[in-house]
């Protein structure tokens, strides 16, 4: 199956992919393809800057709606700088943990409340 190529630069319309709302457009495009069981290639060609806020929305959210297996099998990333790959890896690890253990955040709140007492 030939992958569907999603150009981040084109969808965002800028080489700075920074804001969460821009990430949402990427997320919607990937989701649509995965719902149709397509393989997706996300191209970061000409993307100069990324933030965790953008990647959380664009890619982190996928782990809420799709299994890790489906994402691993169906989503590829191309033309991404090494430093950005490290950021994306961090986003993905955080997203997996976030959806796997929804009580973790509550525990963290309890902990800081405990420190207050």
């Amino acid at each position: 199956m030939n992958p569907i190529v999603i150009s981040v630069f084109n969808l965002v319309g800028s080489s700075f992919c920074v804001e969460a709302k821009d990430g949402e457009a990427i997320f919607q495009a990937i989701s649509k393809a995965l719902q149709q069981e397509q393989v997706v290639e996300i191209s970061f060609q000409n993307v100069e800057m990324l933030t965790s806020a953008f990647l959380n929305t664009a890619i982190g959210q996928l782990y809420r709606d799709f299994s890790e297996e489906q994402v691993r099998a169906s989503v590829k990333v191309t033309e991404m700088a090494d430093a950005d790959k490290a950021l994306l890896r961090r986003v993905i690890e955080t997203a997996k943990l976030y959806y796997k253990d929804p009580t973790w955040l509550e525990e963290s709140v309890k902990q800081i409340m405990g420190e207050e007492e």
Binding site: S52, Y63, D82, K85, V91, S108
Partner: protein, 287 residues
């Protein structure tokens, strides 16, 4: 009305306290002529939190008048365009050490990207830094803007920076007049904690006030970068002051609250760490 004196204003807890004091002292005034004077020294990046506070005071239709500005301070604040907002002319920065003062709306994201690219990323006269280091610094500035955009509910975002060649440091500050860390935590979890603890909580990896979507990486990454770079991170929000540097974490409760949030970062430009190498990751293993 007696003049509001700000003296020897550095990006320290005491510097932020002076700005918070200025706001607290005058916040109940309306339609007043409000004299402000600057003495001794002014770290140019502190123009961001000062601009935020002066704007709030102007919202009460007070007339801000700078009745004394030491010549060295006047020169700095004209070069970075801060004084242009208060009836002065700008002036040319022949040493090219300023990162301009800007006031933006939270939805001016594209404008902020251009500002960062022009003032920092593509600027030849800044000291030679590795591409990885310059990119990490830019990323940090963008993360801070997005944080203010998403969380603060502010009317405006204020930014300013300065390059200190002798200290091999670039400082960059971003300020807002929004709800602050403590109120954000309360609105999300319906629990009251101190402003200091709200900041301490927010800088920990994976802690986020977003609902239904992962987050909490931006400030954690910034702390990690500051550690590697041996720089400094300071967050002031309400009466909470948080600082992280090579000495570790330091917090204190300010006597008067800052009416919003200010985040100041100091980056070392003589950092030879190879940020590209430590980040090498195989694309096939990402998911």
């Amino acid at each position: 009305m007696t003049s509001n004196c700000l003296s020897d204003l550095h990006s320290t807890a005491s510097g932020f306290s002076q700005i918070a004091w200025l706001y607290d002292k005058n916040k109940g005034d309306f339609f007043e002529k409000m004299p402000v004077s600057f003495y001794v020294w002014f770290d140019a990046n502190m123009a961001a939190p000062l601009g935020a506070v002066l704007d709030l005071l102007e919202d009460n239709l007070n007339d801000i008048v700078f009745d004394h500005i030491s010549p060295n301070i006047k020169s700095i604040l004209q070069k970075n365009d801060f004084l242009k907002h208060f009836g002065f002319d700008g002036c040319v920065d022949i040493y090219n050490t300023t990162i301009q003062y800007q006031k933006m709306k939270p939805d001016d994201g594209r404008y902020f990207h251009q500002y960062v690219a022009a003032q920092f990323l593509n600027r030849a006269e800044l000291p030679t830094m590795s591409e990885g280091l310059r990119k990490k610094m830019t990323e940090a500035m963008l993360e801070l803007f997005v944080n203010a955009q998403i969380h603060s509910e502010t009317k405006h975002i204020y930014t300013c920076g300065q390059f200190f060649p002798k200290r091999h440091t670039i400082e960059f500050c971003i300020a807002d007049t929004g709800i602050g860390f403590k109120e954000k935590f309360f609105r999300r979890f319906e629990k009251t904690i101190s402003a200091v603890d709200a900041i301490r909580w927010a800088v920990q990896d994976r802690n986020t006030t977003k609902v239904g979507i992962p987050g909490g990486i931006g400030l954690a990454l910034l702390s990690e970068f500051v550690k590697l770079n041996q720089g400094k991170l300071q967050i002031v929000s309400g009466d909470g002051y948080y600082q992280y540097d090579s000495q570790g974490e330091k917090t204190e409760k300010l006597t008067k609250p800052f009416p919003g949030t200010a985040v100041n970062v100091a980056f070392r430009t003589d950092d030879n760490s190879n940020y590209a190498l430590v980040s090498e990751t195989n694309a096939a293993d990402l998911f």
